[in-house]
Symmetry: C2
Subunit: 182 residues, 2 copies
Amino acid sequence: MTLTIQEKTFLMNSIRDIVDFPKPGIVFKDITTLLADKEAYGVLMKHLQERYASYELTHVAGIDARGFIFGAALAQMLGIGFVPIRKKGKLPYTTVSEKYTLEYGVDEVEVHIDAFSNIDSPKVLLIDDLIATGGTAYAAANLINKVGAECVEACFIMGLDFLSGQSKLRDIVNVYTVIGVD
Amino acid sequence: MTLTIQEKTFLMNSIRDIVDFPKPGIVFKDITTLLADKEAYGVLMKHLQERYASYELTHVAGIDARGFIFGAALAQMLGIGFVPIRKKGKLPYTTVSEKYTLEYGVDEVEVHIDAFSNIDSPKVLLIDDLIATGGTAYAAANLINKVGAECVEACFIMGLDFLSGQSKLRDIVNVYTVIGVD
């Protein structure tokens, strides 16, 4: 269930650093190189499948858009439902929304009001590719609870350990990060 | 490998019609109800896995953002890589892009220039949730070929049969649609 040091190193090496994207001073963690590599993508997803097999989850909720990639694959591997949490204006039915602050300004995520209502007592794993300041994830976990489901854990492929996002998010939900980034 | 009439009806009934979204006169096909239902999501993905098991694909390419959901899950089930085709400005590394015309105006999709270069002779399945006029899919299939891969088929969960998208796209690639919508 735990990744070996070798597996973690393999996964880290499959992620590409892009300097100055989306703006100067930022090193963007490019997961497309991991996804294109069937070995790396397989090792990662098998690890998540093993970790969450015993959680008795009913849904995986993925954050728009890279969270869809890991979340939808994991939901299928676990044989459970997938729920998209989207940026404002993308979901067609009645939604519940939650605002969060960015470095400059405010953004908003939404979920369908009946997203988890096909099952009694829904138990949900929230997933995204990366946690930095954690604003989006905090809003998304709140949204899951707001529409009557239990968000049992928030999972990220990468966590930026030098930012405080994980500790803030731990106030409201368990947090699991596959790879810590210094 | 072929879905039964009962399975097709089950899948169609799991998709929700939203009238007048995103604008008046349009009936939006909401796949979130299909995804949240583990039975429907499972039937659909198992069908795709069976269909594509013999294609000797090396990658599945999904179109931003709903194509990520089906594409990433299918790639993992087939044990191959996943490549995102994104709207302009979202991919961090050097990209190749392709413009396409919308009802009003022009849009653009991109793929990383080295998206498929981790494997010799890449054979790619393109996937999205729905084909209407087919402009995005046509541009995406061209992009796959432009960066040196072979787009062997384009797969859609739903096809709007009253629009000409599928026949236009068939000029450059095989097209498979799981559910036809009148």
